[in-house]
C-alpha cells in the first residue's frame, strides 16, 4: 500500500516556528540550513505553523516533489502533534511510522529562553538525532481486534448507576458489580442535596429501581470483582458473589425474618447511630430488596427460617459463587469514604459522644434514619440548642489530606440550614478557612444560609474539650477577622470530615493496572481533556474514585465515561498501536524478568515447543520499554524504538 523501507532513505526536514514560541529563541532558518547538510537529507525548510493546513500541505507537496520517504518535523512535543503529522505523511502515501518528531519547543525554546545561541545549537543536535533515527525507521502496520459488546461497571453509587443506565439505554449489555448488599452508595445515605435541597432518596431511588428492572443490566450486588484478564475489547472478568445465606430468587423482602431475629448490632449503613438485626436489609429502599445474614453475628437459632416459612429463602449452607463474564470496556466507579477523624485527636472524635461526622449527621437528619429525622445529640437524645460545624477536618492539611475535599463547604452550609429548619432557635456556627461555593447556585445558597442567621467564624478550629458533666463541647479557635481567640460552648459538634478514595478501590486498581495520583485517587488520562479515561485503553472512571466531587459533577463524569466506554463497542473493533514490544525467540531464555517489570501485565512467559519463551500481548502492551531495558539477553525490543534506532540517536548526539 505505501512506500516502505528497504530503499535508500530520502529525508525531508521541516522546522516549525510555532509563531514566536520557537522562532523567538531558536534561529529556525539556520537549523533548516544545517539540516540540509545531514546525510540522506534531500530537502529542508522552515514554516511558521507546521501543524496548520498550509503547513501540512507543504509537507505533502515536498514528499511528492522530492520523492521523500522519511519525514522529520522539528516542532512541539510529539504528545501534541505526532498523530497530526503521521496522518499527513500517510495522506501523502507514506507509511505513517516513517515519521519522526524532534521536540524543539518544550525541551528547548521554552526552557532556554535566555540563551538563544545555545538553544539554536541544541535544536540542531535534536534534529541531527531525529534524522539519524529516521534513517532506520521501519514501516509498521496497526492491528485490529474485535470488541466484546458489553461493559463492566464496578461500584453501584450514583456514578455507577448513572453510567450503567446510560449504557443500557444505548442497547449495550452492562454488568454492574456492587460490594455492599444494596446499590446506592453514599448518596442514598444523604437527606437533602445542596443547593436545591431536593430529597436525595427521592431522586436516587427511581434510578435504582430502573437499574434492577432494565433488561440490559445484570446486577451483581454483594459481589466483588476478583480477577480481570485481557485488554480493551476483550476483558475476561471473574466476579465473586458473596453468600447472603438468603436466596435472591426466593426472598420477597417481606422482613418477617428480621422481626424475629434476636441479635441486634449497630447498622453500618447508619454509621453506628442505629441498630440492625443479624439478618438485615441496610435500608428500606434497598436494591435488590433481598435480606442478608451477617454470619459474624448470627447465632444460627433458626427463628428466621421459621418466620420465612414456605418461601424457604434462607439457606445457611449457601456458598460463594463465581461468575465469569466477558466485556469490551470497564468503568470504575468505586467512590469514596470519609477520612478517619480519629486521626485528628485534638477534636476528640470517638472519645466525646457529641462529636459526630458529617455523614453521621446526614443519617440523623434523615427521615428514614435511626431517629426518624430528629436532630438529637448522642449523649442524651435531646435536640442540641447550639452546634458548631468544623470545616476542613483532615482536608487541606499537610498532616492529613493535602487536598481540598470540595464538597464539605457546601454540605456544611446545607447542614447549618437543616439545623435552623428543624431547631429554629439553635445557634449554629461554622468555623471555616475559606467558603468554596463555586458551583451553579452555590454562592446564592451561601448567602441564603447567612440570611438564616448562621454564624460563620473565619478560623480553623484548634481543639475541642468536653465538659464531663454536661457533655457540652468547648471549641477553641481564632476568629481571624477579630484577631482574637474564641471559645464556643456548644451542645454538639459536626466534623466536616474530608474524603478519601474507598479503600476497596485498591485491589481493583491493581487488578486493572491503572494508576493513582499522589492524592490516592485514580489518575485520569488527561486532567482537562480526558478526565473520564485512565491511561489503560478501555478502562474509564466515574465519580469520586477519580477525585472529590459533588453529585452534579459525578453524574456528568459518569455520563461522559459511559459515552467513552461505548465508543469502542459501537465501533465494533479497535485499532492497536503497532509500537509494542517484540520478542526474538532465538535470544529469549525465558527468565521472566520482563514479566515481573511490565506495569501492564502484557508480557507472560509461556511454554513454546517445550521451551519457556516470553510472549507479548500486543493489545495490552503500551510500548513503555520497561521489558526491553530489563531483558538480560537483549531479546525484547520495542518496535519504533529498537536498539539500533536509539543507538543511532545517541551516536548522532555524541558525534555532532
Amino acid at each position: 500500500m505505501s512506500k516502505s523501507g528497504g530503499e535508500e532513505p530520502r529525508i525531508g526536514v521541516f522546522v516549525c516556528h510555532c509563531g514566536t514560541n520557537i522562532a523567538g529563541v531558536v534561529d529556525v532558518k539556520e537549523v533548516a540550513e544545517y539540516a540540509k547538510t545531514l546525510p540522506n537529507v534531500v530537502y529542508a525548510t522552515d514554516y511558521v505553523y507546521m501543524c496548520s493546513d498550509p503547513g501540512q500541505e507543504l509537507i505533502k507537496q515536498a514528499i511528492k516533489e522530492h520523492n521523500l520517504n522519511r519525514i522529520v518535523v522539528a516542532a512541539c512535543s510529539p504528545r501534541l502533534h505526532e498523530l497530526t503529522f503521521r496522518r499527513t505523511v500517510s495522506e501523502a502515501g507514506l507509511n505513517p511510522f516513517l515519521f519522526e518528531q524532534a521536540n524543539i519547543r518544550e525541551q528547548n525554546s521554552w526552557v532556554h529562553m535566555d540563551n538563544p545561541e545555545e538553544a539554536t545549537r541544541k535544536a540542531k543536535d535534536l534534529v541531527r538525532m531525529a534524522v539519524a533515527k529516521a534513517r532506520l525507521l521501519e514501516p509498521l502496520e496497526p492491528k485490529e481486534v474485535p470488541v466484546e459488546p458489553a461493559v463492566l461497571v464496578i461500584g453501584g453509587g450514583i456514578a455507577g448507576i448513572q453510567a450503567s443506565l446510560d449504557l443500557a439505554n444505548k442497547g449495550i449489555r452492562v454488568y454492574l458489580v456492587e460490594k455492599e448488599p444494596s446499590i446506592g452508595g453514599n448518596m442514598i445515605r444523604l437527606d437533602k442535596t445542596f443547593p436545591t435541597l431536593d430529597c436525595s432518596a427521592c431522586i436516587l431511588t427511581p434510578k435504582m429501581v430502573d437499574v434492577s428492572r432494565h433488561p440490559n443490566i445484570t446486577l451483581y450486588a454483594y459481589s466483588e470483582v476478583v480477577e480481570v484478564d485481557g485488554y480493551i475489547g476483550n476483558f475476561d472478568v471473574k466476579i465473586l458473589k458473596k453468600p447472603r445465606y438468603v436466596r435472591e430468587d426466593r426472598c420477597t423482602g417481606c422482613g418477617k425474618c428480621a422481626e424475629v431475629c434476636p441479635v441486634t448490632v449497630p447498622n453500618e449503613f447508619d454509621l453506628g447511630l442505629g441498630p440492625r438485626k443479624a439478618i438485615y436489609i441496610p435500608f428500606p429502599q434497598a436494591v435488590p430488596a433481598v435480606y442478608t445474614i451477617d454470619m459474624d453475628h448470627c447465632i444460627k437459632c433458626g427463628l428466621c427460617v421459621k418466620a420465612c416459612g414456605e418461601l424457604e429463602a434462607i439457606d445457611f449452607d449457601q456458598k460463594p459463587e463465581e461468575v465469569n463474564v466477558k466485556v469490551g470496556t470497564i468503568i470504575v466507579a468505586t467512590g469514596f469514604e470519609l477520612f478517619d477523624a480519629r486521626q485528628k485527636p485534638e477534636y476528640g472524635y470517638g472519645i466525646y459522644q457529641n462529636v459526630i461526622t458529617s455523614l453521621q449527621f446526614e443519617r440523623l437528619v434523615n427521615a428514614s434514619g435511626p431517629t426518624g429525622g430528629q436532630i438529637v445529640r448522642p449523649s442524651d437524645g435531646k435536640p442540641p440548642k447550639s452546634v458548631a460545624i468544623l470545616l476542613c477536618v483532615g482536608s487541606r492539611d499537610q498532616k492529613a489530606l493535602p487536598y481540598c475535599s470540595r464538597i464539605c463547604c457546601m454540605y456544611s452550609l446545607k447542614h447549618a440550614h437543616q439545623i435552623k429548619e428543624k431547631i429554629p432557635d439553635a445557634e449554629v456556627y461554622i468555623l471555616y478557612m475559606d467558603i468554596r461555593s463555586f458551583g451553579k447556585g452555590y454562592e446564592e445558597f451561601y448567602n441564603r444560609v447567612q440570611h438564616e442567621g448562621v454564624k460563620l467564624i473565619r478560623g480553623r478550629a484548634s481543639e475541642i474539650w468536653e465538659d464531663p458533666e454536661t457533655k457540652n463541647l468547648i471549641v477553641r479557635a481564632e476568629d481571624t477577622f477579630l484577631g482574637k481567640p474564641v471559645e464556643l460552648e456548644v451542645e454538639m459538634v459536626i466534623l466536616a470530615t474530608g474524603v478519601i478514595p474507598n479503600p476497596a478501590t485498591e485491589p481493583i486498581r491493581k487488578a486493572l493496572f491503572i494508576t493513582q495520583s499522589p492524592d490516592g485517587f485514580l489518575l485520569e488520562a488527561h486532567p482537562k481533556l480526558n478526565p473520564m479515561s485512565t491511561t489503560v485503553d478501555g478502562i474509564y472512571l466515574a465519580g469520586m474514585c477519580q477525585g472529590p466531587k459533588d453529585i452534579p459533577d459525578t453524574v456528568a463524569q459518569a455520563s461522559a465515561a459511559a459515552s467513552a466506554a461505548s465508543i469502542p463497542i459501537l465501533q465494533g473493533k479497535i485499532v492497536i498501536e503497532p509500537i509494542v514490544a517484540n520478542v526474538d525467540e532465538n535470544l529469549c531464555g525465558g527468565c521472566g524478568i520482563c514479566e515481573s517489570v511490565c506495569p501492564y501485565g502484557a508480557v507472560t512467559v509461556e511454554e513454546v515447543g517445550g521451551k519457556r519463551k516470553a510472549r507479548v500481548n500486543e493489545a495490552k502492551c503500551k510500548g513503555c520499554g520497561s521489558c526491553g531495558a530489563a531483558c538480560p539477553s537483549g531479546a525484547i525490543t520495542v518496535l519504533h524504538f529498537k536498539d539500533d534506532q536509539i543507538l543511532a540517536q545517541v551516536d548522532a548526539l555524541l558525534t555532532g
Binding site: K399, M433, R458, S462, R476, K484
Partner: protein, 192 residues
C-alpha cells in the same frame, strides 16, 4: 496591644488607625527568617489554628498567626514587639499547623533576630551571663549546698561547678561565637 484591645480598655479614647504601606515591607526580612530555620513560612494560609491553640494567646496579646503574617510580609517591626517574648515554645501550634510549618521555630528565630537588632530582654542577658559565669542558667546557692550535703549528695554537683577547667571551656566556646559580643558583654551587671 491591638487596636481593639485599646478600644476596649479605654472606651472613650479613639484608637489610632494606621495604614500599613508596602514601603514598610522588607522582602529580605522574610527571607532571613526563613533561612534561619523557619523554612517555608510563606505557605501560611492564615487559618488561625496556631493562635487558637496557643495557651498564652488566651492570657496575653500574643497572636501567633499575626507574628507569622508580619514575617511573611516582611514587617520587621515585629521584632520590637513585647508579644514576641510571650511564647512559651510549647510547640502546640507547631504540632497542629495544617501547613506543617515550624511555627515555634519561626518565633525562636525571630527572637534571635530581635537580639541581633539590639532588642535584648534583661532576663535573657542575665541568663546568658549566668551560663557564662557559672556554666549554669540556674547556679547553686548556699541553701541548696546545705541540702545536698544533708541528702548525702556531693556539695557541688559534678558539673562545671566542680570542674573549673570545664567552665573555662564553656567560656571560650561562648567567646568564639557572636553571643559574647551581642549578649554577654551587654548583659554584664555594670552595663545595666
Amino acid at each position: 496591644m491591638s487596636e481593639l484591645e485599646q478600644m476596649e480598655e479605654k472606651p472613650t479614647q479613639r484608637a489610632v488607625f494606621e495604614v500599613i504601606r508596602s514601603s514598610e515591607f522588607d522582602p529580605e526580612f522574610a527571607k532571613v527568617v526563613a533561612s534561619s530555620g523557619a523554612d517555608e513560612i510563606v505557605q501560611c494560609f492564615q487559618c488561625g489554628t496556631c493562635t487558637g491553640s496557643c495557651p498564652m494567646g488566651r492570657v496575653s496579646a500574643i497572636r501567633t498567626r499575626q507574628i507569622i503574617r508580619m514575617a511573611v510580609l516582611g514587617l520587621k517591626k515585629v521584632l520590637a514587639t513585647d508579644e514576641l517574648w510571650h511564647c512559651t515554645t510549647c510547640g502546640t501550634c507547631y504540632d497542629r499547623c495544617p501547613r506543617d510549618l515550624k511555627v515555634t521555630e519561626a518565633i525562636v528565630v525571630m527572637r534571635m533576630l530581635a537580639v541581633r537588632e539590639g532588642h535584648i530582654p534583661p532576663n535573657l542577658a542575665r541568663i546568658v551571663g549566668y551560663v557564662y559565669q557559672y556554666g549554669h542558667a540556674v547556679p547553686i546557692n548556699e541553701e541548696i549546698r546545705n541540702l545536698r550535703k544533708k541528702l548525702g549528695l556531693s556539695e557541688l554537683p559534678p558539673t562545671t561547678h566542680s570542674y573549673p577547667q570545664a567552665l573555662e571551656s564553656v567560656q571560650k566556646a561562648m567567646k568564639a561565637t557572636s553571643i559574647y559580643e551581642t549578649v554577654v558583654e551587654r548583659g554584664k551587671p555594670d552595663r545595666g
